[in-house]
Symmetry: D2
Subunit: 165 residues, 4 copies
Amino acid sequence: MIITVIGANSPSPRGAELAREVGRELAERGCAVACGGLGGVMEAVCQGAKSAGGTTIGILPGADPAEANAYVDLPILTDMGYARNVIVVKTGRAVIAVDGAYGTLSEIGHALADGIPVVGLETWELPEREELRARVAYAASPAEAVDMALAAAHERDRREQAARG
Amino acid sequence: MIITVIGANSPSPRGAELAREVGRELAERGCAVACGGLGGVMEAVCQGAKSAGGTTIGILPGADPAEANAYVDLPILTDMGYARNVIVVKTGRAVIAVDGAYGTLSEIGHALADGIPVVGLETWELPEREELRARVAYAASPAEAVDMALAAAHERDRREQAARG
Amino acid sequence: MIITVIGANSPSPRGAELAREVGRELAERGCAVACGGLGGVMEAVCQGAKSAGGTTIGILPGADPAEANAYVDLPILTDMGYARNVIVVKTGRAVIAVDGAYGTLSEIGHALADGIPVVGLETWELPEREELRARVAYAASPAEAVDMALAAAHERDRREQAARG
Amino acid sequence: MIITVIGANSPSPRGAELAREVGRELAERGCAVACGGLGGVMEAVCQGAKSAGGTTIGILPGADPAEANAYVDLPILTDMGYARNVIVVKTGRAVIAVDGAYGTLSEIGHALADGIPVVGLETWELPEREELRARVAYAASPAEAVDMALAAAHERDRREQAARG
């Protein structure tokens, strides 16, 4: 199962540490990690995943595989700039957001608009709006974020399989 | 000059009314309106623009021009789903966000990540984060939103022309 | 009705002349012209359309409206590189290909794969393959190309309206 | 190294057999295979790659991983329809085209326009045009196609590394 991790290019040291831990936990549970393939949170999550023998997919904004961070196994070269954010989000069965600036906000928006589960870890705290049913589910630790993302991804699989009949 | 207007498919009646007024104001000042081409705020802003003789561009998620609302002059058929949100945002020299749900949030994120000015009118109130310089500039009325968007768009033109040398 | 015109960035002088004439003919019949917005055939068709008072849409690969040729009324900023070719092709109710290199070949392929009528004017001559029903329809002059494109576009409108029920 | 294989959804039995063989050869030489993720040539190449223990990436037009053929390890969900063809082509260091209809033609066009090496195996025979330097290099067998693709990919790597300085 592929889980997407999103977050800033220039995270705080703590954001990078959280992302590394998320990557390690995902790999230990047999998940492949998809991300935007560049630095910061994207690099940290790939590094964490590789430290536990996982597989990492970097969905890059450009066309040059040399732009990928050193821990990306499979660079996907979109050459579509920010429009690749949509692919990053859709490729995971769930999304974990760590830290993050406006690019991350756009990805959270895409995911929630699309019914993709989003787990937040020290990331954007969106204002409560009762009329919107989809929500970021906030986790307190990398392990909890991964637990919540996997539970939501499995629930989504069940729901979509049921819809297929 | 093209100004982009974003907002929900299912706005409140007040949101739709604000969008119509924004469209009318933009057309009266000679701007073309770009939007996502569907219903709700997108339809209202096109209706307002047409009421004042403006030009409307609908950048659609699908491939069927019949999906465009009745006030779109020029349907752009992306057939790219939500990835078209990026094109909607980039096509305007500034963006006005009216009301809006998660799709709008993704567009605000894309715009701010990209240095495109965003004016908000009864839309998402994002938490203050000092480390992020780009901000939504909030307006109190449709006329003020259009004033602010045009000022920011002209400022952006000057800045980009200077950068071109 | 929007008709798309595709062709090379660096056409022969004759290719540019044909494109100008196609643009003029389209505008005289009340059609808006969509194209890739850059130079060569794209510039010539826009110039021709403007000479007859038409409307021109340039669907650009980048994010800078200054990349558009001088005859583009409405620059659509995709910032998606070559992926914008798909949008160029889909936005027209029919496609006229004039001259053209490999980018044009990709657009002809997209259009035929998608059931969009393609009229060719001194462009790629594809090998005959009986098992493929869609074909480029070759025209002998700009006026004939426009006649054929409009007939095919109207036929397509009728077919799609019938399919909608 | 990732090599892309393109070809028809509904190939001849021989086309599918060639694609299977190409997939097997690529996996035996340690390459990952990228493709459009659906049936026909895409399925056959993935099946061949998996028969030799390879890794397969399916870059899908939709958002549902269940659309991927049974031999795709890593489904990339673009939800961008045909625009995903561009990503399919760019993700490989070289492209092998087997059989193929108009979608494949669009991909050959994108690759050649972009300077990506294309090896053809019983696919589109494009008319010779002296003014266009990029060409499809035709191979006589799956093994030769893979040899040629790898040689071209390594040459491309050297050229791009030299350009980076």
